[in-house]
């Protein structure tokens, strides 16, 4: 009985080992585990590749759902695991900064405006893919988005989010006006409607919408933050001061104090609740009114029927508006850089781009020429502005290109803060512009 037990144990444990052999084998195993822990790379047989994508939480969730579906489909074809992580759009800069500092994180990342320039050194070059997709899509409609330092294409332009004027047509008709075409029209109509309890709503606060719309106002009045060389600070001009004076008048005559504390959500809420008469926003406010079956207060009439989008107003300097240009890039430190590029090649096929644009319900606007007249824009008069707004839309940094300094100025909300200080009489237009000039000079010098 005892012998049979010993035999069983030998079968399980194998041949008895000498002390020396035991120590050498243990050392080998320990060394192996230590090297796996130190490098963070499992042995080949245990590796399971995972492609990770980081993007912002889209205001139209179906856009994210379609993106995830495509990534899963690609993952299935490539035999890899995939993951999509989303963060609030205002938190995305912090997450990107953390990944760059730690040199670890996702493979594919959603980049905004000048992020591709700011993180140029840490992003894969996309020149080949950029050319290939351009040929397939009839060319790019922008030549400034996704650029890095030294003219390298460090990200692929993805889509842009435009800022038309969103207006309540019924309220404007009630005060005997037509839809505004100029900024002076906006000011006059907003003044009339504020008295009736329906103010204009433009964020003068720390929000993306505010960054875009305040730039639109500045440019439409002939002002600019920097020269076309993207280096020389040029905000302190007669035109900029006029733009600041206009914002002060617009705020006092047509807006309420609440805009000083608004985020990107508040103007949508204000419009959909029936309070605001006009705002500047992508189509998400309109889509919310449709989805929520919002009614005009005190009536049974659907609110979305009386909401329309028109081109941004004209000013003395022309018709200009900023937009959030989105790009998608691949970190250099990604272990799956090649795979990530293959996914982008897959995503930027005609079929997949079409599905992504359609899923966003018109919110994402194309940067490839062959999609400019996408059928979704002909599906409703609410979208008629969309194919044309690109002509008047510029990336931050206009008349130059978006640079690292541009991104820093945006992330600090310097222009909205300066305009808010002027609007609330905490600074004269001249003081506000002079202070902004000093802030910009320091930032542009820092990034020179």
């Amino acid at each position: 009985m005892a012998k049979s037990t010993k035999n069983s144990l030998d079968n399980i444990l194998g041949e008895p080992k000498s002390r020396r052999k035991f120590i050498s084998e243990t050392a080998a195993v320990t060394g192996g585990i230590a090297s796996i822990l130190a490098t963070g790379i499992p042995p080949a047989f245990a590796q399971e590749r995972e492609l990770k994508l980081l993007t912002w939480s889209h205001f139209v969730p179906k856009s994210d759902e379609e993106l995830e579906r495509q990534l899963k489909e690609f993952g299935k074809q490539a035999g890899i695991k995939v993951r999509v992580d989303r963060v609030a759009h205002l938190q995305l800069p912090a997450v990107l900064a953390g990944e760059v500092q730690g040199q670890k994180g996702h493979d594919l990342i959603s980049l905004r405006n000048a992020n591709s320039y700011l993180y140029s050194e840490h992003l894969e070059t996309m020149d080949d893919l950029y050319e290939k997709i351009a040929k397939r899509g009839g060319g790019w409609t922008t030549d400034t988005v996704g650029k890095g330092q030294e003219g390298r294409q460090t990200a692929l332009p993805w889509y842009f989010i435009s800022f038309p004027l969103v207006a309540r047509t019924d309220l404007i008709a009630e005060v005997g006006e037509d839809l505004p075409d100029t900024w002076e029209d906006v000011r006059r109509i907003a003044g009339k409607l504020k008295k009736k309890g329906h103010p204009l709503g433009i964020q003068l606060a720390h929000s993306n919408d505010s960054n875009n719309v305040t730039r639109g106002i500045l440019w439409s009045h002939g002002g600019k933050l920097v020269e076309a060389d993207s280096k020389t600070v040029a905000v302190n001009s007669k035109e900029s001061i006029e733009a600041f004076k206009f914002v002060r008048a617009l705020y006092k005559e047509g807006m309420e104090k609440e805009v000083l504390a608004w985020d990107d959500r508040n103007n949508n809420v204000c419009l959909v609740s029936g309070k605001c008469s006009m705002t500047f926003n992508p189509v998400s406010a309109y889509r919310s009114a449709v989805r929520d079956k919002a009614l005009i207060p005190g009536t049974d009439r659907p609110l979305h029927q009386v909401i329309n989008h028109v081109l941004p107003p004209r000013g003395p300097g022309g018709r200009h508006m900023a937009a959030s240009f989105q790009a998608i890039g691949v970190w250099k430190f990604s272990e799956n850089a090649q795979l990530a590029k293959e996914f982008l090649d897959f995503h930027f096929t005609k079929e997949n781009i079409d599905k992504h644009l359609t899923a966003s319900q018109g919110y994402n606007q194309p940067v490839l020429a062959s999609f400019a007249m996408h059928p979704i824009y002909a599906s409703s008069p609410k979208y008629y502005f969309a194919p044309y707004i690109g002509w008047y839309t510029h990336a931050a940094g206009y008349p130059g290109v978006p640079t690292a300094a541009t991104q820093t100025v945006e992330d600090q909300f310097l222009l909205p803060d300066a305009m808010a200080a002027c609007a609330t009489d905490r600074a004269t237009p001249e003081e506000a512009v002079a202070k902004l000039e000093a802030q910009l000079t320091r930032i542009y010098k820092r990034h020179a």
């Binding site: 900064a97 500092q101 104090k257 609440e258 805009v259 000083l260 504390a261 985020d263 309070k275 820092r446």
Partner: protein, 320 residues
């Protein structure tokens, strides 16, 4: 001869172990030092190293994702001489901490005294008092964000629609758009969140005061007021000092409430050290400036801690 023998014996002794030699040189507490060594290593790794790194960053032009070089005190000079938001940050942080902690002490004491007297539903009230403290800060602050919403504040709705407020013609107030109201709002939310910590700790201090002191005072004819000033408050002072110390540290370094409620706005009027440092260091990628801003907090905290610890030490010597 005897002496020689003794010397010979002494020389014949085995050499002292390392531990014994250390005990001779360090003293009898060598075991104690041994026990705290792991904690000390963790402290050095988790506190001293990041602090040293922050000091280095503050003296450099560190920028996210780029190599840093030494620039001396340039960041501090810029903050003190050029940055016109920084004085507001300093003012806000001090106001935020002083007002909030003072309110917590005052109302915490009142609530603790009331809770001590409550006999019916005692456990319920003591438990309910803790809710603001145990709920996640980000969640409760989001709740306050909705209550104070610029467009649809619940408070403004009540002032407009609920009697008798609707008769008073109050509001609407721009809680987050008006700089003074916005700062008041973040102070209030911090007070609301921190109050339970004071109440429960002070209550524990109250319970530990022996009843016979009050009985003796009553026999001597002391009034309720006398008992409070001469017995309760002096015996609570060590507890109060500790709770104020912790609360001041947490309040001075607060981030969540301002970040969720106002994001430092309107027009940078509600930034605290933590949020402003985050803005510079993370959002603007200028780690050097961000680190320099946060280091301004260090002397303030150090002064507060030294002052309160001295107070505690003095009170520890208090004898009945």
């Amino acid at each position: 001869m005897v002496a020689v023998t003794n010397i010979g014996r002494a020389e014949a002794r085995p050499p002292l172990s390392v531990r014994s030699r250390l005990r001779r040189s360090v003293g009898p507490d060598i075991d104690g030092y041994g026990f705290i060594l792991p904690s000390a290593i963790i402290m050095v790794s988790l506190v001293v190293y990041p602090f040293g790194l922050a000091v280095w960053y503050s003296l450099s032009d560190a920028f996210i994702g780029q190599p840093a070089s030494f620039i001396g005190l340039d960041n501090f000079i810029y903050i003190l001489t050029v940055d016109d938001i920084f004085p507001k940050v300093l003012r806000n942080t001090l106001l935020f901490a002083v007002i909030s902690v003072a309110c917590k002490v005052f109302f915490g004491l009142i609530c603790a005294l009331l809770l001590q007297r409550i006999t019916t539903f005692k456990r319920f009230f003591r438990g309910a008092m803790l809710i603001p403290f145990v709920a996640p800060t980000a969640l409760t602050t989001l709740g306050w964000w909705l209550i104070l919403d610029p467009t649809y504040s619940h408070i403004n709705w009540i002032l407009k629609h609920v009697w008798p407020f609707s008769e008073m013609g109050l509001g609407p107030y721009q809680f987050l758009a008006d700089p003074t109201l916005a700062l008041s709002s973040v102070i209030f939310v911090n007070f609301w969140r921190g109050l339970p910590f004071f109440v429960i700790t002070i209550l524990a201090g109250l319970v530990s005061i022996p009843d016979h002191l009050y009985e003796a005072a009553e026999i001597d004819g002391a009034s309720t007021w006398d008992k409070f000033w001469k017995i309760t408050l002096p015996l609570l002072r060590p507890v109060l000092a500790v709770v104020i110390l912790f609360s001041t540290i947490f309040t001075l370094a607060d981030f969540n409430i301002v970040f969720v409620l106002t994001r430092g706005g309107p027009m940078n009027e509600t930034h605290l050290f933590a949020t402003y440092s985050y803005t510079y260091g993370i959002l603007n990628h200028d780690i050097g400036l961000g680190a320099a801003v946060s280091l301004f907090l260090f002397p303030i905290l150090a002064f507060t801690v030294i002052f309160l610890l001295r107070l505690i030490r003095r009170d520890t010597a208090y004898e009945l």
